[in-house]
C-alpha cells in the first residue's frame, strides 16, 4: 500500500495542552497537506507545506517537514475541546506526476474540557 503512516493513532489530552501528530510518507513529494475531519464529515484543509519548506505556521498550528526522513509533524498549541477531530496528512506523488492525494492513516484527537 502507498498509504502513509501516522502516529499516534489516538491521542487524548486536556484543554490547554499541546498535541503533536506525526506523519511518514513513501515517495518524493511536491507538498504535504494536513486536513481535519469532524465526526466523519467532510474534510477541512488546515495547512499545506511545500517540499522546499521546513516549517510553517498558521494560528495555533505549526507544521514541520523533513524530506530526508520523509516525515512531517503537526503541532496544535493550547488545544481546545473544539479541536477534537481526526487529523490526516496527505501527499501527492512526484514520481507519477498526478494530482491525486495519498492519505495517512490518521490520528484521532480527543481534547477534554
Amino acid at each position: 500500500s502507498q498509504q502513509g503512516e501516522e502516529d499516534p493513532q489516538a491521542l487524548s489530552i486536556q484543554e490547554g495542552e499541546n498535541a503533536t501528530m506525526n506523519c511518514s510518507y513513501k515517495t518524493s513529494i511536491n507538498n504535504l497537506q494536513w486536513y481535519r475531519q469532524n465526526s466523519g464529515r467532510g474534510l477541512v484543509h488546515l495547512i499545506l507545506i511545500r517540499s522546499n519548506e521546513r516549517e510553517k505556521h498558521s494560528g495555533r498550528l505549526r507544521v514541520t517537514l523533513d524530506t530526508s526522513k520523509k516525515s512531517s509533524s503537526l503541532l496544535i498549541t493550547a488545544s481546545r475541546a473544539a479541536d477534537t477531530a481526526s487529523y490526516f496528512c496527505a501527499t501527492d506523488e512526484v514520481p507519477y506526476n498526478t494530482d491525486k492525494l495519498i492519505f495517512g492513516t490518521g490520528t484521532r484527537l480527543q481534547v477534554f474540557p
Binding site: D99, K100, I102, F103
Partner: protein
C-alpha cells in the same frame, strides 16, 4: 478555489441494490477523484475520473463495482453497484487545486447498506 456540491449526503440502502452519487463543481476541472473512507479508517482513492475517457481505477477497485461517469468538466457520478454491508462507508469526491495549493472536497456521502 472550487466549491463542490455532493449528493446525497447520506443514504440507507438494501443489499443488492445500487446507489449513484453525484458531484457538481462550480468551475471546470480536468480531473476529479473519488475516495472511500471505511468506518474508522482513512481515505482510499477509488479512481480518477477523466473527462472524455474511461476512469482510471486504483488497485483493488474495478469498474463493474464502481462505474464512474464524467460527461463534462464540472460533473461526475460514482455508482456503488450490487451493494453489500461491506460497502458501508463515506464516499467523497475531490478536485485538485492549482499547483502546490490545497485540494477541494465534497461534503461526503455516508452510505449504510443493510
Amino acid at each position: 478555489s472550487a466549491v463542490i456540491s455532493q449528493k446525497p449526503s447520506r443514504d440507507i440502502c438494501q443489499r443488492g441494490t445500487s446507489l449513484t452519487i453525484q458531484c457538481q463543481v462550480d468551475s471546470q476541472v480536468t480531473m476529479m477523484f473519488w475516495y472511500r473512507q471505511q468506518p474508522g479508517q482513512s481515505l482510499t482513492l477509488i479512481a480518477t475520473a477523466n473527462q472524455g475517457s474511461e476512469a482510471t481505477y486504483e488497485s483493488g477497485f474495478v469498474i463493474d463495482k464502481f462505474p464512474i461517469s464524467r460527461p463534462n468538466l464540472t460533473f461526475s457520478t460514482l455508482t456503488v453497484s450490487n451493494m453489500s454491508p461491506e460497502d458501508s462507508s463515506i464516499y467523497l469526491c475531490s478536485v485538485p487545486g492549482q499547483v502546490n495549493t490545497e485540494a477541494f472536497f465534497g461534503q461526503g456521502t455516508r452510505l449504510t447498506v443493510v
